[in-house]
Amino acid sequence: MSAVQTGEIITFFILAPLAVIGALGMVLARNAVHSALWLILTMLSLGVFYIVQAGPFIGMVQIIVYTGAIMMLFLFVLMLVGRDASDSVIETLRGQKVVGTLLGVGLAGLMATGIYQATRDYTVVGLEAANKDGNVQGLAKLIFTNYVFAFEVTSALLITAAVGAMILAHQEKSGVKAVGQVAKMRERFLPGNYPGPKPGPGVFATSNSVATPAKLPDGNPSQRSISPILPTRELTAAEKADKPTLTGGA
């Protein structure tokens, strides 16, 4: 009944290798961000497969949801391991790589043969009936009638997981209260604090170094004008001398 069309075959044979390459690249890439990018390739290919196989809604949703999900993965990579993180090639368990590869290939082989055996003499039926009123409408009808309970329970589960993750990850800073703008302003004007901006260093006068202090009206150097992280240095005689404006141009 649903004969495979030429366009579908062409799409499959272009995208299937890409999906496999993406999956392999995701496993083999050293850099965690590159892994995430390979994963996007695989997910996009899967999305197109769904669309080609008369499931446009699930295909689009696959793309939209997985872009957001992989974006989150991307952020986690950035936050947890930093920008330049790469896998180390040192084995923590002896022989782990060989055993892991063997087991992986074995599992893939088992699953592939299993699926192949199960679907070999399969005739696909019921696509027209399922998409009778349109793909989206058919899906909506199923989700909100037969499967409404499973659907709602799944959403509740996801929300619980999200809230739980937030509670576990959120660290309450004990004893430190958030300081509001009003409190900060009051603090600024308390006795012993100078509310104005600090004077700039004396870079415009006799030296162009930010380590040269500005001079106060009485001629003393202003310590406030120098950043505390700068090393102190000995001033030259010219820098120490009063400015011509103070000495009357002499």
Partner: protein, 432 residues
């Protein structure tokens, strides 16, 4: 003839090729035009002429700028991730172009003897395609920020990903109301749904009078449109939501390290995205390519003329983008996030529930009696005062409470003396 979903997928291959080329050319020309348009409009708002040297009214200015940009030196930063650095602008641009594939330009016309709708293609989930493309397009920005190997682009990229995650949700939710009203996600059918005006009768409880419902969803679904408009500005990284490329904070944001053609691609993608969200707004809320006030069979809505109506509507929408940029300062990052999550999304959810209630009450009689008390109860709960107001201390007491030795503040009843110049101006005015 108004196209429906059934009219698509029947084109000959060379018709498809012509349409693809037409969409590509339309977008590139629109980009060149919009850059000029934006510069002229902003200039007008700031009382200066704007570009007016190259070509009539300076129309060729953006072409000249584009050529110059393409011939600039292409710089690859030393610490950049070379492949991703190259891929990022390509992703942005491809997604921007793809999203326009489902934009309806007009009705079914005759093209070299073939009857074909003026739209590249349409699928049952067309609007979702735009969402998917805009979602993928932001990868271009995030990856460019990451791959540049420099601090400011990384910050811009991170901001952009947060912006995507929050404003995509608001945008998607605002479109849900349109789907509920039209019962479809295909753009051509949404345009068709807005062509049919319908008589609506108020329930007998409220008088039983009837009126003609306006066709455009901007009238029927005004809250959705407002939320869509706001999140569209956020999606396209335009002022006042241009945090990923905040030039006064992050130099250029995600594209700080980009130059030459790669930068040009980002530029192109940003303007195409603007055109796309404007086109989507026109399609979803402003009746698409149809001229208002005339039936779908009227000559004004037939043939090639609707392309003009679509473009005019598009330019008006783009003008609003430029207007916003010329008027509003950039939002602070935390305010921006709070606005998205705590205002737009909850308001949207409430509106969807209200709309669902209205639609259900239209289908079922006497349900209004059940809905009104529930709605009143919910409104009451929403506006119930939650806590007592803090007692306000007068300013004099606050000042008196300050510890001794505090920095001197001016007296509260200080009268600032009027400057002599100001007095002169007042005097002159009194004479007139």
């Amino acid at each position: 003839m108004m196209p429906t979903l059934a009219d698509f997928g029947k084109d000959v291959w060379w018709i498809v090729l012509i349409k693809v080329l037409a969409v590509f050319v339309f977008l590139v020309v629109m980009t060149l035009f919009t850059i000029w348009y934006e510069r002229r409009v902003v200039a007008r708002m700031q009382v200066r002429p704007g570009p007016n040297r190259n070509g009539p009214f300076g129309l060729l200015q953006s072409l000249a700028d584009g050529l110059k940009l393409a011939f600039k030196e292409d710089i690859m930063p030393l610490k950049a991730d070379k492949v991703v650095f190259f891929i990022a602008p390509v992703i942005s641009t491809i997604c921007a172009f793809t999203a326009f594939a489902i934009m309806p330009f007009g009705p079914i016309v005759s093209l070299f003897g073939q009857k074909t709708p003026l739209q590249l293609t349409d699928i049952p989930v067309a609007v979702l395609l735009v969402l998917a493309c805009s979602g993928l397009g932001i990868y271009g920005i995030v990856l460019s920020g990451w791959a540049s190997g420099s601090t400011y682009p990384l910050l811009g990229g991170l901001r952009s990903s947060a912006q995507m995650i929050s404003y995509e949700v608001a945008m998607g939710l605002s479109i849900v109301a349109v789907f509920m009203m039209s019962g479809t996600m295909s753009t051509s059918e949404i345009v068709k749904a807005q062509a049919e005006s319908s008589q609506t009768t108020v329930p007998d409880v409220l008088g039983g009078w009837s009126f003609t419902t306006p066709n455009w969803y901007v009238v029927l679904l005004l809250p959705s449109f407002i939320i869509y408009a706001i999140s569209a500005v956020g999606e396209t990284n335009r002022a006042p939501f241009d945090l990923p490329e905040a030039e006064s904070e992050l130099v250029g944001g995600f594209h700080t390290e980009y130059s030459s053609l790669k930068f040009a691609l980002f530029f192109l993608a940003e303007y195409i995205n603007m055109v796309t969200v404007s086109g989507l707004a026109v399609t979803l809320f402003f009746g698409g390519w149809r001229f208002p006030g005339f039936g779908p069979e009227h000559a004004i809505n037939q043939g090639w003329l609707p392309v003009l109506w679509f473009t005019i509507k598009l330019l008006i929408a783009l003008f609003i983008f430029v207007w916003l940029r010329g008027t509003l300062p950039r939002l602070r990052y935390d305010q921006f996030m709070r606005f998205g999550w705590k205002v737009l999304i909850p308001a949207n959810l409430v509106w969807i529930v209200v709309l669902a209630g209205i639609k259900t009450s239209q289908n079922t009689d006497n349900l209004l009696w059940a809905i009104i008390p529930v709605a009143l109860l919910l409104l009451g709960a929403l506006f119930w005062p939650s806590k007592k107001k803090a007692v306000e201390v007068p300013m004099e007491k606050q000042v008196a409470k300050r510890p001794a030795g505090s920095y001197p503040v001016p007296p509260i009843d200080l009268e600032v003396p009027v400057s002599p110049r100001a007095r002169r101006i007042t005097a002159e005015r009194e004479v007139v």
